[in-house]
């Protein structure tokens, strides 16, 4: 048995959506006894001929005005498959109801009146389907009886609408000429339109298969809540992508902290083994390590970290009565994350009816769509919708009202970054587009770029290893460069001392410079004490997991004291103003993932060769 198909019926007002559905229900025997009688009674009271539409339009106001106001759902079964029909209103005033109906459909029928042809809502609804991510779309040309079943009329609509749909990248699975009143091409093929050789509406629906979104790249578990009913701390959420089982390593974003899944908690308890949760299931799990986790955080597998940035580029469909405006603040809800966001810039505004694009607008009006950049004081965790749809879409609220929906787009390079200590102070800045891509640079240089971040206490051998590695790389015609913390303090960081705050700032500057050099196409080796875990993880996020390798060098205390760089260790005992990380100041050794070397045991050549081996794999 094929899986259930939920489909929405959309189109311009009065184009016959409800009548088509009424006919489908009547012909498939889906209506309960009494329903048809009830509608007959209503029609008699209102002195109208029998209206199939009234089978659906249940509200008194709907029947008196003859328009669908809100969505209606009805079900029928046909040849061993269950169908759910969502009837959405075509009236422009009720656009938000149409969205509600369409948002959980697998497929859509776009209804066009043969006499009126393609109208305003025919365009807007098609745009919205594409926006909401519904790709299985069929066009039903209704009221063919009123145009004498004319093939010419049908072909004309097919050509005009087909061109429009193509621009939206919607490829209809069929165009069907129908008379719902006469039942032509609804359940069975019609003899009155023998020029049409395609399937009936029902036959076409029977062939539609729901595409599985399971092509996903990794685990996404947005945290809904944390339950502390007893001694367990159960993290609750829905798997928006991927799977999870006990023992899996996960990273909690935005902190980036790691832990392993200790258990999947269930009621009633399952007897056999430990369960694996599949995509879209609501789970409760515990971690082996007590991390601070709260609603809005995202658990991901370490191989596929989500995006993290203070900026978000998106395509927004606006339904608010008042227009969206640049510089205004709205509330954003993405999965379980909520943030106040400011509209930073509007890239372009699109009319979903004419497809006209305007590039210099300061607002987006009701029922318009636009590409924009949002920003938030604290970084967002999200995905690009093209990668993971469920964590790449959001709604915007003005006060308590939902005023728009959005889909996350791939942002420009400069927007793909988090800020730890506040947003840029400059107002009105926007990125300048680059024409040369990372691929272009890799082609010219003959290798990809990378950052090797070498951390360790003074005397661990960071500079020695970095210089050795740089030489080895250059000997292989690889463009490499060392950023040494020591050297930075003569110039870029001349204003910094050795306090904790300054060490953090030093790491931030090193990360920013390393990022620029890496974007320029180089292999960058950073030799920096960088004593704090958070600082190194910030560098990792800024530079990108795929471009970043963390190396931790260490040696026993007596070896460090013997090496005694700048006499630090011998002075530390006597002079309380000397700060030595690992001895008189904090040094947080990196937990995984990092490559660890003991430079007292392994020679420079050995350590260098091991790092070189890893780097070469990443850049070729």
């Amino acid at each position: 048995m094929a899986s259930k198909l939920a489909f929405v019926v959309v189109g311009h007002v009065d184009h016959g959506k409800s009548t088509l559905i009424g006919r489908l229900l009547a012909d498939t025997g889906a209506l309960p006894d009494g329903r048809i009688e009830k509608v007959k009674r209503i029609c008699e009271t209102q002195r109208k001929p029998f209206e199939y539409a009234f089978l659906l339009d249940a509200l008194e106001a709907e029947q008196l005005q003859g328009v669908t106001i809100d969505i209606t759902e009805v079900r029928f079964a046909w040849q061993d498959r269950d169908y759910l029909i969502i009837d959405a209103p075509g009236h422009k005033e009720f656009m938000k109801n149409m969205i509600t109906g369409a948002a959980h459909a697998d497929a859509a029928l776009l209804v066009v009146d043969a006499r009126e042809g393609v109208q305003e809502q025919s365009y807007r609804h098609a745009y919205l389907l594409s926006f909401l991510g519904i790709t299985a779309v069929a066009v039903v040309v209704t009221k063919m009886d009123l145009v004498d079943y004319s093939q010419a009329v049908f072909e004309q609509i097919r050509a005009a609408y087909g061109r429009f749909l193509q621009r939206l990248r919607v490829r209809p699975v069929g165009f069907i000429p129908v008379s719902a009143v006469g039942g032509d091409n609804v359940t069975a093929r019609s003899a009155r339109m023998d020029w049409y050789r395609g399937p009936s509406v029902l036959d076409l629906l029977a062939e539609l298969r729901v595409s599985d979104e399971a092509r996903s790249v990794g685990l996404r578990l947005p945290v809904q809540d944390v339950y502390k009913f007893d001694e367990r701390r159960i993290i609750a959420g829905r798997l928006e992508a991927g799977r999870v089982a006990a023992g899996d390593e996960v990273q909690v974003w935005p902190s980036g902290h790691r832990a392993h899944v200790k258990s999947i908690e269930q009621w009633p308890e399952v007897a056999e083994g430990s369960p694996t949760a599949e995509p879209r299931s609501s789970v409760g799990l515990t971690l082996d390590y007590q991390l601070f986790v709260q609603r809005g955080d995202v658990l991901a597998d370490p191989a596929h970290p989500p995006r993290m940035s203070n900026f978000l580029a998106a395509n927004v469909f606006w339904i608010g009565r008042a227009p969206l405006e640049v510089n205004r603040t709205y509330r954003l809800k993405l999965a379980t994350l909520e943030r106040d966001v400011e509209v930073f810039s509007i890239t372009r505004v699109l009319s979903p009816v004419t497809m006209e694009v305007e590039t210099d607008r300061a607002g987006i009006g009701q029922n318009e769509a636009g590409e924009l950049v949002l920003r938030s004081v604290r970084p967002f965790v999200f995905d690009v919708a093209a990668d993971i749809p469920t964590t790449g879409r959001f709604v915007l609220l003005d006060g308590f009202d939902v005023v728009g929906g959005g889909i996350v787009l791939e942002a420009e390079e400069l927007y793909r970054r988090p800020y730890r200590h506040g947003l840029p102070r400059s107002a009105g800045i926007s990125p300048v587009r680059t024409a040369v891509t990372a691929d272009d640079r890799a082609a010219v240089f003959g290798h990809k770029s990378h950052v090797v971040w070498v951390t360790g206490v003074p005397g661990a051998g960071k500079s020695t290893i970095a210089r050795h590695l740089e030489r080895e790389l250059v000997n292989r015609s690889i463009k490499a460069f060392v950023i040494d913390g020591e050297n930075l303090r003569f110039g870029l960081s001349a204003d910094l001392a050795f306090t904790d705050v300054d060490r953090t700032e030093q790491a931030r500057r090193a990360a920013e410079v390393a990022r620029l050099f890496q974007l320029a196409g180089l292999v960058v080796i950073v030799a920096l004490v960088s004593p704090f875990h958070e600082d190194r993880e910030y560098a990792r996020t800024l530079i990108g997991e795929e471009n970043f390798t963390l190396v931790h060098l260490h040696a026993p205390a007596e070896v460090l004291r013997h090496r005694d760089p700048h006499g630090l260790y011998s002075r530390a005992g006597r002079d309380p103003t000397v700060s030595v990380p690992g001895l008189t100041a904090p040094y947080e050794p990196p937990p995984s993932p990092a490559v660890h070397f003991d430079t007292a045991q392994d020679s420079v050549d050995e350590v260098g060769a091991a790092i070189l081996d890893r780097v070469l794999k990443k850049i070729t």
Partner: protein, 266 residues
């Protein structure tokens, strides 16, 4: 994921959203199959717990077995049970002979409003389904109510994907509908799959069974030989009789349920 599991998982997600976002929350429990399935889903969502009180709106005209069942189950599972009665209307002798719509409004709608106000609940979880009747089909998962519990059906918020309207101005409150997308058969198939104990009134005795439960004077059993959940499912697959055909208040007026629900009926 099969369609029943998909419905279950969606309902759990909705219950957890309600608990995470709404501080003062309660669930209506009528002892019927839908709210009993909802109680099961609650325990699944919260790993065995029932983290909010259950409300029973007692009109005092309920079928007697329902009250016995209520007290037994609440003892067995051990959750907080709030019984709400419109004591003033009852003292004044309210009953269905004064008009079914009048009686339903006083003993159910008004009683629910009184409990909501007394306990200052921000949201009530209700087990209604879209397939039950026309006006329920128009509902939202998170459905906003005015201070007077009224429903503005012509101006409802949009629900993009799974983003529900979980924030609302002070004074307004919300009905949460985790079973909105289920059908009557879905509920029975779920009861069968999970082996959820339900009240005996649903099973046929002497050729009759209750398909929908309510007050004794206004609820009539239907002709049936279905003595087990499996037989009920088989019966429902074949029937063309509406689920609420045994509920007299629905038949009072063409738009009776809509009118009741605009005032705050479940």
């Amino acid at each position: 994921m099969d369609s029943l599991t998909a419905l279950e998982q969606e309902s759990i997600y909705i219950l957890r959203e309600a608990r995470a976002k709404i501080p003062r929350l309660a669930m209506l429990w009528s002892m019927g199959k839908d709210s009993t399935a909802l109680l099961w889903l609650t325990r699944k969502a919260f790993v065995g717990r029932v983290p909010y009180p259950l409300i029973h709106i007692d009109t005092t005209y309920k079928i007697p077995e329902m009250i016995e069942y209520r007290d037994r189950v609440s003892r067995e599972i051990g959750f907080e049970l709030i019984v709400g009665r419109n004591t003033q209307a009852l003292a004044e002798g309210m009953n269905h002979t004064r008009g079914r719509i009048t009686c339903c409004t006083a003993l159910k709608t008004d009683a629910l409003r009184q409990v909501t106000e007394q306990h200052r609940f921000d949201a009530i979880i209700v087990g209604i389904r879209r397939d039950e009747e026309g006006s329920r089909a128009k509902e939202r998962v998170f459905s906003q109510r005015s201070q007077a519990s009224e429903w503005d059906v012509t101006d409802q918020p949009p629900e993009f994907w799974d983003q529900y309207r979980t924030d609302f101005p002070p004074g307004e409150h919300v009905r949460v509908h985790p079973l909105l997308h289920w059908t009557e058969i879905d509920v029975w198939r779920y009861i069968e799959r999970e082996r959820i104990p339900v009240i005996d009134l649903y099973f046929a005795r002497d050729g009759k069974r209750y398909r929908s439960l309510g007050c004794a004077p206004c609820t009539h059993p239907c002709e049936s030989d279905a003595r087990s959940v499996a037989e009920i499912i088989a019966e429902l697959r074949a029937t063309k009789v509406g689920e609420r055909s045994g509920r007299a208040q629905d038949q009072e007026h063409t738009h009776a349920m809509e009118k009741l629900r605009l005032k705050g009926y479940m």
